[in-house]
Amino acid sequence: MNATGIGAAVRRKEDYRFITGKGCYTDDISRPGEVRAIFVRSPHAHARIRAIETAAARTLPGVLAVLTGADLAADKIGNLICGWMIHSKDGSPMKMAPHPALAATKVCFVGDPIAVIVAETSAQARDAAEKVKVDYDILAAVTDPAAAQAKGAALIHEIAPNNTIYQWHLGDAKAADAALATARHVVALDIRNNRLVPNAIEPRAAIGEYDSGSGKYSLWNTTQNPHVARLVISAFVGVAPEHKLRVVAPDVGGGFGSKIFIYPEEVVCLWAARKVDRPVKWVCDRSEAFLADAHGRDHVTHAQMGFDGDGRITGLRVRTIANLGAYMSTFSSSVPTYLYATLLAGQYDIPAIYCAVDAVYTNSGPVDAYRGAGRPEATFVVERLMEVGARVLGIDPADLRKRNFIRKFPHQTPVIMNYDAGDYHASLKKALDMAQSRDFNKRKRESARNGKLRGIGYCAYIEACGIAPSQAVGSLGAGVGLWESAEVRVNPTGSVEVLTGCHQHGQGHETTFAQVVAERLGIPIDNVAIVHGDTDAVQFGMGTYGSRSAAVGLSAVVKALDKIEAKAKKIAAHLLEAAEADIVFADGRFSVSGTDKSVAWGEVTLQAYVAHKFSGQELEPGLKEGAFYDPTNFTFPAGCHICEVEIDPETGATRIVAWTAIDDFGTVINPMIVEGQVHGGIAQGIGQALLEGVVYDDNAQLVTGSFMDYSLPRADDLPSYNVGMTVTKCPGNPLGIKGCGEAGAIAAPAAVINAITDAIGSEDIAMPATPQAVWAAVRKANMGRKAA
């Protein structure tokens, strides 16, 4: 292994700027003449707008403009869109309601933006925002997804009767019914997958700029996919034509999905910049982010799993209502459908699966992809059922899983996915060993002596990542292809710039991508620069989400490197006066096979540009190649996490005392970075299980609207993690990579809840399992036992 090549724990190249305070996030950028935008937002969850009075605000000092939805309409600015078409089972298309960037006639959730103030300073803009008077006709509101479809519930959009966006299904209902009807045991669960706020520590921000000389717009934006933002803003919203719009995603402080989407605020900043002819900056406050960022999860599910007398799964039937909030966010429709139901087979050979999903509007913030997006919800359903099944059947939970594991690959599930490779038994076994599960009962007794309840919980998860084949997702309704692009520019001195359509916001691409390139070209890693995040610099690309950057984006880089090598060999052949077929490239040197003649990489790259040694007619000068890579399948990372908890029954406080994670991500480029991704994912999964959950009150007011009430995991809420890996290479891409970004968030919630329910001897606990909830569940279980 090369010291910086694939498999080496190379320290990150990007860290120097972050640890010295020299990172450059959107809010760190200051454009000449920049002014500030502040949004006026609805305090009501559901109301008709009778009138908006802006005159008083306009006259305040420093105010340049007060713009409303009427101004947007006058300028023919289009609505925000959801880019993934889902059809209901009756064939009808999903009911996408209009989503103007500024609400003009009606507000649909607390925080819905109504007007923007542009002023010299943000204090002046805030002063003015308070002077905007909106006359509301307040309407009844609904936030609970299960209640949204009820007769008499408030109707949010005319286009969607019963607030129903679609009624979708997947699988074979008859087969699943028959499997459950003939099963020896049927385990049923009602599950609420709690709504979460992504809470990247960098709040969203945007700077819009318009150059009247060139007619060119620029948008600096906290986004995970600048090209998609440019495409949507030009083609659908229509603020600027694509070729006149530059979108830059500079350093971005975490995304977790929430920065994929095209939001009203960035559109408005760009549009307003032309109106006031000054750069317009908006920086989201945290309390504003709680309202305005797309949330995650929020499913209500009833699921049944059937088992035969040997503990083999006969079938699974799932019914889910997914809350998409007040408007359909950019990819919202795909999350509870193709990113969810297609994973319901888990790691198991399940003969029959049927899943029906209704998506509904409610008077709450929009819901879209958040780390894992659909796959944590699916895993939670499957892995809770397995654990409860084991308890009902009296089979050891690890053993029950073993009995049902898929062992032969490729494996076609009943829900679209074709698993290409994996070894679930290996990861379970390794996890059981590492967690010292054999000694668990001893530890449980020790805890009991201290008055504590100890529990152990498993989660054997699978995810579909590296999203993914464009043709496949297109046939499922995606409005975009999900390939990735790369361009490799070799400079005359031999240093290399790699332009990728991916975008990093914590994942470390500047290091891992460089590792692959440096190893392949035999050059120092410091001679490789990864360029991303600027549509003026980088060719069209799809961005970073769904654990796809290495599996798809890096595959494009590899494909471009193949082309580079091929051309460099041609040049080397000229230099060495040998046949191209005899040129061998290794360790940064081109040699003629079977001779001691060779030439260094740097010599070839220089000759590529001076072009003295070959005819420009026969071989084009230069060394620059591009590639687009479209995978043939999703990738299927999988693994097993084991959580051990200790509960103080007097207070209900749960402490995670041990965490074991064994993951199979295929080829690992940088184990240090991969482990870091696993840690972060687990932390978010533990957050969902123990701490985090959005609460709206009866009037659809957001009660968990700041870190004072929304419990973001802190260092002392979390354990250190024991992380290990097994490897089965992904056959679908050149490096054998599966992706690692979401695994922890997918695996952790079920592992935690399985451990808690094991500890307290009751399945009756919802997420988040707060101290109060656990205390109540323990008390109820004790009362139940006493009564029995």
Binding site: P43, H44, A45, V110, R126, A129, E130, S287, F290, L291, D697, D698, N699, Q701, L702, V703, G705, S706, M708, D709
Partner: protein, 151 residues
């Protein structure tokens, strides 16, 4: 967020006297905690400005107060809604019942209140206690006002 409270106050005055006080804008103004203005628009409608203060939080609410379900001298319903600017909005009402008790009057109240916007979002831990205090203060002030008029 929605809040519900109820309580009783024993007043040392006959029902008809209490009833008059309950309909007296000056008395109401003096009793509503933080009330800066209460202007009569009609016998049953007032325009009000009140400052709600909860610890570090101070918000000035402007709105209307209505009296409905008037049943002299047995009780009424007093309700109101106000805009607190950046803080959000508040609305709520109290059903007040008067019954003869121990030579005086027993005033019973059932209050429900709702707040929305920033206060609901950021001040939720404070709101329940503050609302209860405001209701308690109002009726305590009212009892005092009745007692003074009797003294």
């Amino acid at each position: 967020m929605a809040l519900n409270m109820s309580g009783e106050v024993q007043l040392g005055a006959p029902r008809d006297v209490v009833w008059v006080k309950l309909n007296d804008a000056e008395v109401l103004k003096a009793c509503i905690p933080g009330c800066e203005e209460l202007n009569k628009l009609s016998d049953t409608e007032f325009q009000a400005v009140a400052v709600a203060k909860v610890g570090p939080v101070k918000a000035r609410f402007k709105g209307r107060v209505h009296l409905t379900d008037l049943d002299p001298p047995n009780g009424y319903r007093i309700s109101g809604e106000g805009e607190g600017g950046v803080a959000g909005f508040a609305k709520g009402g109290a059903t007040v019942t008067l019954t003869d008790r121990d030579g005086g009057t027993l005033l019973g109240y059932v209050v429900e209140a709702q707040i929305g916007g920033k206060l609901a979002q950021l001040g939720q831990r404070l709101v329940a206690g503050a609302s209860k205090k405001m209701a308690d203060d109002f009726f305590a002030n009212f009892a005092k006002a009745v007692a003074q008029s009797q003294g």
